[in-house]
């Protein structure tokens, strides 16, 4: 079973993502941005769902750290954000720096299909 790490400062959100994805994937939650890299190294996820805005560390910085990590650098990331950017207006899935990007609240079906595509790709 593929492994997914969900990083978001909202425990309820990560819990519900886990509950929704668990039948298909093994899901690990991480609510502390500063621990995200460490957890990822330990867990070895096939994909990371990463919140963009968190209190301790920005999602973008975490992504940069993952890119720099020899073990994790090929791990795909899907960004989740509560901020609406212009790119989001025209399409349900947009990309930032080549990475997919989804706006909260995320439709479960859309999230599931995006995860599927990224894992296949």
């Amino acid at each position: 079973m593929k492994k997914i790490l969900v990083v978001d400062d909202e425990p309820d959100l990560t819990m519900l993502v886990r509950l929704n994805l668990e039948p298909m994937y093994e899901v690990r939650e991480e609510n502390h941005a500063l621990k995200a890299l460490e957890t990822a190294r330990a867990f070895g996820p096939d994909l990371i769902l990463l919140d963009v805005m968190m209190p301790d560390m920005e999602g973008g910085d975490i992504a940069a750290a993952i890119d720099a990590d020899p073990k994790l650098k090929h791990t795909p990331i899907i960004f989740l954000t509560a901020t609406v950017l212009r790119e989001e207006l025209s399409a349900p899935v947009a990309f930032i720096g080549g990475r997919p990007f989804m706006a909260k609240p995320v439709d479960m079906d859309a999230l599931a299909s995006t995860i599927e595509k990224v894992l296949e790709g």
Binding site: A82, V84, R86, L89, V106
Partner: protein, 529 residues
């Protein structure tokens, strides 16, 4: 009665009762006879005091010498001196004029033995004549006598003073030669009327001066048919006419100034109203800015709870008991509510979004065509026919293509929603020049009269907007759509984007049916195609 026997008595009675002065002198100039009138003039008490005396006894030497010279001339030549005007000073020192005739008196052998003098006092007549002459000479009016032959006969000095020609120059050629060519026909017509016996004619014409200029004369003319003469009085009204014209001009100028003043006042009033409008818009804009900032903060904070709710609903939807009839409906209602809340939050973020535009020169046709592609599905399912008339020559516009696409999609969607039974969506464009009237109903604009503009019109054939709601379509959270269908922010955002582009948007019901939206945009400077 034997008249001849009366002799000297008859003579005395006759001469004493004549008003003329009568006297007889001998060849030495001594009075030998005079009548009562003469006695009174020389200041003697009786004729006895006069007899034997000469003019030197009664008159100042200067006058006496003149009289004596005349007397001697008659006596020596025997020729009569007739109607001689001579001045005298009477005994009271008053000057008089006498009309005197002196005739030689001869005896039986035709020898001159003296003279008979007869003098009439013409002082009053003479004074009247002098006054008339003085009047003729001194009046500033132009007096003249002209013949029916077309020549001046007599002119007073005012003519020379007014026109600069001497009287000799004026009488030498027909007077019509001095009249302005344009006034000659009318003048000749007046002269003919007078010659036919009209008692009087009054008219104005222009008379040439010695320096070539013309003066306006106002004529009053009467004829003497018997003498074939015209008596004319003319007055120089050149200055009066100029003054009258100046007055008329001044009146016109005044009326003009008044009209200008009224216009300025109206313009002032209009700009004052504009200013009040602008002020209100600014207050409104400031308010919307604060609302926008607040909305952005709130929206962001609301998105995470919404995400949790949506995830929760998703989870529950997979865990509802198989025998539950209502649970799927409850789940659907909750999911719809979350999506609705999400749309509103997105609208708020949009509304409060960045004010920076990514401006590039774009062909507005391409932007519109791309926007139409995005609503293609809605057009088809709504049975709406799109009629696009965008001429190829429209100038490029400085646009943020993404934002303008949002504007067009929004306007197209509104039009489609306004035609639930289907209809026609018309999009047309034209290139023009800004006039106040084309932006009527729009808000304040930076456009100036004469600026080149591109006008985009979007028309639908839908149900239109109720008049009482038309004013509010741009208000945030105002919507004419059923609950859940619109956020009430679409038109607010649309107008904001248009105004950020320096353009205007006007929305009104079409007289026939549906709504007309007019966008006015400014072409890129220095870019034609």
């Amino acid at each position: 009665m034997d008249i001849s026997s009366l002799g000297p008595n008859l003579l005395r009675t006759l001469i004493d009762h004549l008003p003329d002065s009568i006297y007889v002198k001998d060849v030495q100039g001594r009075f030998v006879l005079d009548n009562a009138t003469h006695t009174r003039i020389v200041g003697a008490a009786s004729t006895d005091e006069v007899i034997g005396k000469t003019v030197y006894d009664f008159f100042p030497t200067g006058l006496a010498l003149q009289y004596d010279r005349d007397d001697m001339s008659v006596i020596h030549s025997g020729q009569s001196l007739l109607d001689r005007e001579e001045p005298i000073i009477d005994s009271g020192g008053q000057p008089h004029w006498l009309m005197t005739s002196k005739v030689a008196l001869r005896n039986g052998s035709e020898e001159v033995i003296g003279l008979v003098g007869i003098s009439r006092d013409v002082t009053r007549h003479k004074q009247a004549e002098e006054e008339r002459d003085r009047f003729f000479q001194l009046t500033p009016d132009l007096l003249c006598i002209a013949g029916f032959d077309g020549f001046f006969k007599l002119l007073n000095p005012a003519w020379t003073a007014t026109l600069g020609f001497t009287a000799e120059e004026l009488v030498k050629q027909p007077y019509i030669e001095f009249i302005h060519p344009d006034d000659r026909d009318a003048t000749l017509a007046q002269a003919a009327k007078i010659a036919r016996g009209a008692p009087m004619a009054q008219y104005d014409n222009r008379c040439r001066c010695h320096d070539g200029s013309y003066k306006w004369l106002s004529w009053s003319v009467s004829p003497s048919i018997e003498h074939r003469l015209i008596y004319g009085v003319a007055r120089d009204i050149t200055e009066a006419r100029a003054a009258a014209k100046r007055l008329v001009d001044a009146n016109i100028e005044l009326a003009h100034s008044e009209a200008q003043l009224r216009e300025t006042m109206a313009a002032l009033r209009a700009s004052h109203e504009d200013l009040i409008q602008t002020q209100m818009h600014l207050i409104q804009a400031e308010k919307m800015d604060s609302v926008g900032r607040l909305a952005a903060g709130v929206a962001h904070e609301v998105k995470n709870p919404l995400a949790i709710l949506l995830m929760g609903v998703e989870y529950l939807s997979h865990h509802i008991p198989a025998d539950s009839d209502n649970a799927p409906n409850v789940i659907r209602a909750m999911r719809d509510a979350i999506h609705r809340a999400d749309r509103i939050v997105r609208g708020l973020l949009d509304f409060s979004g960045e004010r920076q535009l990514n401006l590039q020169p774009h062909d507005v046709r391409e932007v519109i065509e791309q926007s139409l592609l995005l609503v293609k599905h809605e057009l088809l399912s709504g049975h709406v026919h799109a009629d696009v008339d965008l001429p190829p020559g429209l100038p490029h516009l400085q646009l943020d293509a993404t934002k303008m696409q949002q504007v067009f999609v929004n306007l197209f969607m509104n039009a489609i929603h306004a035609m639930p039974q289907g209809g026609t969506l018309t999009v047309s464009g034209s290139h023009s020049v800004f006039r106040e009237s084309v932006a009527e109903g729009s808000r304040v604009t930076s456009l100036r009269v004469g600026d080149p503009i591109v006008i985009i019109r979007i028309l639908d054939t839908g149900h239109g907007i109720p008049a009482d709601k038309l004013q509010r379509v741009f208000d945030p959270f105002f919507t004419t759509k059923p609950p859940g269908k619109g956020t009430g922010l679409g038109m607010t955002v649309t107008r904001k984007i248009i105004e950020l582009h320096g353009g205007t948007i006007d929305l009104r019901n079409r007289p026939e049916r549906g709504v007309a939206v007019t966008l006015i945009l400014r072409p890129s400077e220095g870019v034609s195609q």
